[in-house]
Symmetry: C2
Subunit: 376 residues, 2 copies
Amino acid sequence: MRKYRLMAPGPTPVPEKVLLRMADTLIHHRTPQFQAVLKDVNKKLKKVFKTENPVFIFASSGTGAMETSVINLLSKGDTALVISGGKFGERFGEICEAYGVRTVNYDVVWGEAASADVVRDLLKKNPEIKAVFGTLCETSTGVVNDIEKIAKVVAETPAVFVVDAISGLLADELKTDVWGVDVAIGGSQKGFMLPPGLSFLTLSAKARKLIESSDLPKYYFDLKAALKSHAKDDTPWTPAVSLIMGLDTILDMILEKGLDNALSYHARLAAATRAGVENMGLELFAKAPSNAVTAVKVPEGIDGAAFVKKMRDEQKITVAGGQAELKGKIFRLAHLGYTDEFDTISALSAASIVLKQLGCDVEFGKGAAKAEEMFM
Amino acid sequence: MRKYRLMAPGPTPVPEKVLLRMADTLIHHRTPQFQAVLKDVNKKLKKVFKTENPVFIFASSGTGAMETSVINLLSKGDTALVISGGKFGERFGEICEAYGVRTVNYDVVWGEAASADVVRDLLKKNPEIKAVFGTLCETSTGVVNDIEKIAKVVAETPAVFVVDAISGLLADELKTDVWGVDVAIGGSQKGFMLPPGLSFLTLSAKARKLIESSDLPKYYFDLKAALKSHAKDDTPWTPAVSLIMGLDTILDMILEKGLDNALSYHARLAAATRAGVENMGLELFAKAPSNAVTAVKVPEGIDGAAFVKKMRDEQKITVAGGQAELKGKIFRLAHLGYTDEFDTISALSAASIVLKQLGCDVEFGKGAAKAEEMFM
């Protein structure tokens, strides 16, 4: 009877109402009925991304939209600045490399946020930089970057600023247009509380100009084709109809409560988690913690992989472990999706039990106590 | 109360059992639970594609898998033979062009099947051809090509044979390994009766060798990454979890009845449709008709677009019209997905009503009569 609790930073639990919408009779995508849904979804996506520019929807994981940004904005031999402080920042560098785009790399210490001053210096030293790639929430470390500050720096140059907001969006603030972010990227299986399979991408006027000159090859992820279709509330290829139906429902649910509410909700869960784990004597990993996911250092002498495994197999709570250089060294508790205060307390309680089982000196109730206090 | 009947060649109706499976609690993709599902799905996909080679699953529409075949097998400046007899055959040519792959084009008259002899001649005249791109069922014309014959011709050369089986698979026979098809491509929203959002691709040993030398840029659709993950029953990027759950259920349903049954079922619906429309005095468009979709010529003087619109808006039956040069000239009735004998008769009856309304001299009951006779 133990319930399954999905508390990894994506995929996240999906509200029943959304699951049922997706289970409704499938309709054809080239019909007035679907077009009406897509038109409405396109409008609502603009609100969530806080942009007046089009938001494109792809049938792909978030990585597909990341690749889309590189191959539509740049040309072979162009230079890009890649700000990377974890596994997902690195991905932009890998994509650039695959397409023959030269990169200037700003490698931030994992766990720390990127500095706008360093970005300014690098842009000055490398005036040939055409695009800057950054991350809102670096999922692998739980760090939120100061996108507003970095965007201001990039906006003073001819370069465009591309932000991977896949895990951060709806949990960490992102004012795409006000901050001057040229391309913001999202994914369905994070703050949108949908199953994986959709990715999103915004496009500023500044970024749109680059599309014209880009000579990198593309077809499925061609933004010229996407732009043409988007103008007619259509898609160039068959869209993932059922997921877009779910998107329609979840966008209504999110916008009804308001975007500020979504942000404060995530902030509330994240703050209680951070306070809870610290009260348990544990240490946070991220110097600038995101409200999407909290990375916690595995205590000295404790097997981090065993912790994640016992949480999953015995407590039925899926949390994420560390990736790459952080393997076994951290665990990550997400606040994304259809997750509430008592799921958060459950995760803290389960963590207490499992850490104790693994021989860690944790006092029972410390995590829950702090969370209760904060939630009251 | 009029029910919605989706009879376009994809997306297709989805069985309720599958809809409910996809509406179940979402699980994380990096867990033993999901890995077990994926392992099983991978095995079952091999059966459906009749191959011993791996079948890759992408979170994308079928076009993504078509692009995958081009960019992983070929290099810039390579030559490919594109056999095209409709809108989807043409797509391979467009993808090749986008990536700087030279094409030899075999343009088949729309409505006719490709000739293996012509393919043989073209391969002889152009020994530099590294890959041949063909189509099982050309969705835009309703033609099924003789893939077995063409595969035999290609197999005698060093070239690999890539077949777009997106709309044909499960309706028209495809013996991937026995016939020597190197890469077969599928999509979720056709014979698989799933919502759109997944595509599939098989890979022979001969095709696998080409991957090593291919220099076209790629990332999301990189088969080297896919191969590495597939060996561990994993995926390089976040998979479309809910659709894969649905795939698990539908594959069980399909394999339980047997693949021969799936083929004969589609053949039965297609034969009754063909006989029905001919008995109504209408003419078939395809010289070699597929069992996935039946293309019917719109009678002289009748507005084809109005027919499709009235079928949809008044009869609540979504059929497809003609695309590109066939716009307004044909309509297409599909036999794919969760569609049965009485849906087929319903479509014939609705077509009689609508054609009569549009001023066509159709005798009521002629379509249904022939279908009843054949179904008995």
